[in-house]
């Protein structure tokens, strides 16, 4: 019985928080300030909770499994959501529905947790839906904004569609193997066309979530329309969660199909990097731009995944961690700017350095980390991803990826150029940075600087990743 609590500790903490928030909502109406303080504190606890009572095991006859790796992954996500909550302070403190926002967000997080530790397709599906549907609502959180509702509509429709296809795939797998439990599925996987078709449908479901070309088209619109907090959440947390699941499912459940999914990923990753870059070049809205850049990033992650080795899985987890830091640092600045001035265009950032040097440096470092410039962590992340990809000996893919880095450099440097070099007589005025966002930025920059240089992080993750 005690196992139950220990193995599900993170999920339980989140549930508790959610219920706590609900109760607060019912019984009292406190000021936003108070709520935000408390929520951030709770999230800190949630993050801390991950570190205690580590234990490995299965629950509900293998529907739910906990391994050190899952704990770590959940912790990474918890850290991410903590940072996001800190950043969205200046947006939320005048917002009517703070609690609802957090409830939605946390329930999606809960879904992700279940998804990560799912040992069964049903559990996986439930987690997936739980992590999707509230997000659609959250995307609509700027109720009066047209873009917001449009984004929400696009998200819900396409995610419903994708989950339909995903389910169809699951049903076929069920039909061909007769079971839903991961461990039982693997032995029944043979290369028969129906299973491959099923697998493709499943892959498409994943690809939709992590926005792989050609399943990515919703991404940009939703990112642009949704509130910045939700966008950053979508771009790092939900993506990261699905990636974790994706990797473990590929490497364990569908190991027998590794040959065909290797080729698929080869194709998809090349396509994703290319399309993501090509679209990112010509964006002006910075959120939309970050959307496409994140698509390109996913392409690089896929390159890493093709490695299908312990190195690869480690690198993916590692990269997601770094990616959370880098992307959230960028989104932190963006959300601050858009919350105060409502400006979201790259051209608005011209000569930003003149008025806000600190923010400019944060944004610059974040962009460099995304671009993969040493000594930021992004360099290490990308390097290891490409290395694990190269491990398979497919240097065509590596060369494509490496050359695409040039394009990505172009558009990241474009923003740096805008910040530092472009003349602009009316730059964004000097912004006051509240404590919480400041903390968030410190965390992010610290992460960006040290996650890479200190190799212990990587080695720790690697120690948790099971050999393939």
């Amino acid at each position: 019985m005690i196992d139950f609590f220990i193995l599900m500790k993170q999920e339980l903490v989140i549930m508790i928080i959610i219920f706590a928030l609900l109760i607060i909502k019912i019984i009292s109406d406190r000021s936003n300030e108070w709520i935000l303080n408390m929520v951030n504190f709770l999230l800190l606890i949630n993050f801390a909770a991950g570190f205690f009572f580590g234990k490995e095991g299965m629950l509900f006859n293998d529907m739910f499994r906990t391994t050190p790796l899952t704990v770590l992954e959940k912790n990474i996500l918890s850290l991410g959501i903590l940072i996001i909550s800190l950043q969205s302070y200046s947006w939320l403190k005048n917002h009517k529905h703070v609690l609802e926002f957090y409830i939605l967000l946390l329930s999606t997080l809960l879904g992700m947790f279940f998804m990560i530790s799912s040992g069964n397709l049903l559990m996986f599906y439930l987690g997936l839906e739980l992590s999707t549907i509230p997000l659609a609502a959250a995307a609509n959180f700027d109720l009066q904004k047209k873009k917001s509702s449009e984004a929400a509509m696009k998200l819900i429709i396409s995610s419903a569609f994708s989950s339909g296809l995903l389910l169809f795939g699951i049903s076929l797998i069920y039909g061909t193997t007769g079971t839903l439990t991961f461990t039982d599925i693997t032995p029944h996987i043979t290369n028969n066309p129906l299973q491959i078709f099923a697998f493709i449908l499943l892959l498409a479901g994943f690809a939709f979530k992590i926005s792989v070309v050609p399943f990515h088209l919703w991404t940009a619109d939703v990112y642009e329309g949704a509130p910045v907090a939700v966008t950053s959440y979508l771009s790092v947390i939900s993506k990261g969660a699905v990636l974790f699941v994706f990797v473990s499912v590929l490497y364990t459940v569908f190991k027998p199909l590794s040959h065909s999914w290797y080729n698929m990923l080869f194709l998809l990753s090349a396509l994703t990097i290319l399309i993501g870059n090509l679209f990112a070049i010509r964006q002006n809205n910075i959120k939309r731009f970050l959307a496409f850049s994140s698509i390109a990033q996913v392409g690089f992650i896929l390159v890493g995944i093709t490695g299908s080795s312990q190195l690869a899985e480690t690198s993916v987890v590692y990269f997601v961690l770094i990616y959370i830091f880098s992307n959230l640092a960028a989104f932190g600045v963006v959300s601050l700017v858009s919350a105060v001035t409502g400006k979201e265009n790259i051209s608005d950032y011209k000569n930003f350095y003149k008025t806000n040097p600190a923010l400019s440096w944060v944004l610059t470092i974040a962009l460099f980390s995304l671009a993969g410039v040493p000594p930021t962590a992004g360099f290490f992340g990308k390097f290891f991803l490409l290395m694990s990809g190269a491990g398979k000996g497919n240097y065509i893919l590596i060369t494509i990826a490496a050359l695409n880095m040039i394009i990505s450099f172009y558009y990241y440097l474009r923003i740096v150029k805008a910040i530092f070099m472009d003349a602009n007589e009316h730059p964004i005025e000097k912004l006051f940075i509240p404590t919480y966002p400041k903390m968030a930025m410190y965390i992010c920059v610290g992460g960006i600087v040290f996650t890479g240089l200190l190799s212990y992080v990587y080695e720790f993750i690697q120690s948790l990743v099971p050999g393939v």
Partner: protein, 104 residues
């Protein structure tokens, strides 16, 4: 007992699946698009139940899955309709064509 072979049922479900998809692609009205999605989900349900009944009758995985899908479909529909209503508030229409402000 029953003489309907599995394949027939699979044909039915597949047909339903594609009908739903066709509806999703062609309908301009968001509500009807939502309905088409429901069709897809139902075809999946049929799949599950059929597989369970015909192939793996010893366990009830498929049936349960179907039940869960129905439940979640309801939830999804609820949220979707809420969003659509909000969309109608802001756009004064629930035609998908009108909600293409963000593009390229």
């Amino acid at each position: 007992m029953s003489s309907i072979p599995l394949t027939h049922i699979l044909f039915l479900s597949t047909a339903l699946f594609f009908i739903g998809m066709y509806g999703l692609f062609t309908r301009r009205n968001l509500i009807s698009m939502l309905m088409s999605i429901e069709l897809i989900l139902n075809s999946v349900n049929i799949n599950f139940v059929a597989f369970n009944k015909y192939l793996y009758a010893d366990k009830l995985d498929g049936i349960f899955f179907a039940i869960f899908i129905i439940a979640i479909a309801a939830a999804e529909a609820a949220v979707a309709i809420a969003i659509i209503i909000n969309l109608y508030r802001s756009h004064r229409s629930i035609d998908v064509e009108d909600a293409t402000e963000m593009r390229y």
